[in-house]
Point group: C2
Chain length 366, copies 2
């Protein structure tokens, strides 16, 4: 039906062309097509018919230009290839679509410069609000987020809070989740528990104090999980051993190396707690390389449940995050602000769940 003869028309049909085709003024066409104001049923029909005939679609850019709003949310995620963020993204897009908003996603791949670039793209495209599930941000590097805020663009953070920013943020109970997992390891009898992974320090901080300082300079999520680990250790009066927490670049390969190292210690680890999926697979590789198996030789608990974790033999005990809900909540908070609600500027905490399967057993007797 589209592609009617529009004479010398070039490009997609405009509202003026529709008006001309229908023999009415631009405004009348605009009113019926825009769904506002009043138009007589008769003219209305003519306009609709003309639009249909020409295959008219409103130019969203032009509309945004004159209204000043784009009905679009910008989303910046750390890594869209990570199932965690993909799930959050789905929550965001489901609820924003339900409320009439499109969403455009940009992935930073954990790189600050890409995060800054992404922020600028969103500012330039005049999105109405921004959700950031990235914050490669080490607390101090938040100028780009400030820039968006200064322009009056509401920003909501997901997963990774940034204390210095005073924004609404939607997160999970990272500290409690980590503590619960480590407690389970402890009550199974473990005392030598590896922590994969910690902050990206160049060298392992010698003291607990330095470690925490380093952690709080970096990714919030990681710091919280580390705190949870320490909480559990403290409660059980197990002394903190800096050799048991991995620091440095967070890659699967390094996780493997570090677990191997901890396994080779004179007083080796009998359990590992992994704060991310790649840390889990890295740890698993180390176990295999060492000829060890879980839960017999080493107990294991990790973050981010998945179908794979359930089909492993034996199946893995994992922490499940409410990914969809995390995204949905963030979108709600943001859309409410766009609807005029006063920003609460607080932390919205959702709850994770420890899914107990079979990767934890008592440590083998020495």
């Amino acid at each position: 039906m589209p592609a009617a003869d529009r004479g010398q028309a070039t490009g997609p049909p405009t509202i003026s062309e529709v008006a001309a085709e229908a023999g009415v003024g631009r405004a009348t066409a605009a009113r019926t097509l825009g769904g506002y104001g009043y138009v007589s049923p008769e003219l209305r029909e003519r306009v609709l018919a003309a639009a249909e005939k020409l295959g008219y679609r409103a130019n969203a850019l032009a509309r945004s230009m004159s209204t000043g709003v784009s009905h679009t949310l910008g989303v910046i995620v750390a890594d869209i290839g990570n199932p965690f963020f993909a799930g959050v993204m789905r929550g965001i897009s489901d609820t924003s679509r339900a409320r009439g908003f499109d969403t455009i996603v940009l992935s930073t791949y954990e790189d600050l410069s890409q995060e800054i670039a992404a922020t600028n793209v969103l500012i330039d495209k005049r999105v109405d609000g921004v959700i950031i599930a990235s914050a490669a941000v080490r607390r101090s590097e938040v100028a780009h987020i400030r820039a968006a805020m200064d322009r009056g663009i509401p920003v909501v953070l997901v997963d990774r809070a940034v204390a210095s920013l005073d924004l609404d943020s939607v997160v999970i109970d990272n500290r409690d989740a980590a503590r619960a997992a480590v407690e389970m390891l402890i009550s199974a009898g473990h005392r030598r528990i590896g922590f994969i992974w910690g902050p990206p320090a160049a060298e392992a901080p010698a003291t607990r104090r330095e470690l925490l300082a380093e952690a709080s300079r970096n990714l919030w999520t990681d710091g919280e999980r580390l705190r949870g680990y320490l909480d559990a250790l403290d409660d059980a009066r197990i002394p903190f051993d800096p050799q048991l927490v991995m620091v440095g670049r967070k890659t699967e390969g390094r996780a493997t190396q570090e677990v191997a190292r901890m396994l080779a210690l004179p007083d080796r680890i009998t359990a590992v707690f992994c704060t991310e999926t790649e840390a889990v697979t890295g740890a698993l590789r180390a176990l295999r390389a060492a000829g060890l198996s879980y839960p017999r030789d080493v107990a294991l608990i990790g973050f981010d449940d998945s179908a794979w974790a359930a089909v492993m033999e034996p199946p893995l005990t994992m922490i499940e995050q409410p990914v969809h809900q995390l995204g949905a909540k963030a979108a709600e908070v943001l859309l409410d602000i766009l609807d005029g609600a006063e920003p609460r500027r607080e932390m919205h905490t959702l709850h994770s769940r420890l899914i107990v399967r079979s990767s934890v057993a008592a440590p083998a007797l020495p």
Copy 2:
């Protein structure tokens, strides 16, 4: 530095404000900020300083309005939560960013109505080109793609070709990949090989002819993989048994059911070939439920390699797709067209790789 006093200014600073601040005409400001035309070094400096002072950022919408181009690619993927598509997406965004294009992604979650909506969003936002890695499209339902093409928006398909469309498409050698995998199973001695999953027919087609007809009415990728399976069977003169191909909704749960069914057959399967990750985990669940293990009781090969597949015990033999390259190539083809190259309207085929690990062994003697 931004947020200088702009008097009663509301909203982000415009180019006119910058011009005023610098004490020059709008055009001069536009020229220096837009990087075209000629401007004296002196005025140039003043404009730059003013822009810096006001925190000026060009309004991409306004720019697109007057130039008619957005330097933005639209991408429609079937499911951004699927690591396969996430990888493709990364390939697309890496290469388009390198060539100065932003990309906006929309996920359809395999739903045609969402795919249509997504296409419209992209048309309305006036993206310069579209990459579709979805095509929930059952060959016949391509009106929305045609609509985009009719508007002069170049479209490139990835992963899932659509024969009726005559577009450039970037795909892998699905048929050969499947054939190679099944051949490996056959040469290990298997003759009863399950195929998970086939086309979404309501009932299992009784004949091979009907099955292929059904397949070609649906997702291209699935059809090709099925053909590869049949090719291998034919070459080995193994008769086709309709009971061994799963049809219907493609979910992990159904894969589990179907593998369980095939395992319960009088002449049960001794191997499974899975065309997707969820089919693999589904199959694995069925094996466990039946108290069977691989590769001893059942051999297994699946599509889409991942870190998990490598850490399974024993590790899984899988087909690895060049995901990043798939996306990169699609972006290249599209950007070349936008640069004026004549569309080749052909199928660009990349090669997958069978990663041999340990999930295939000879069938146990009956």
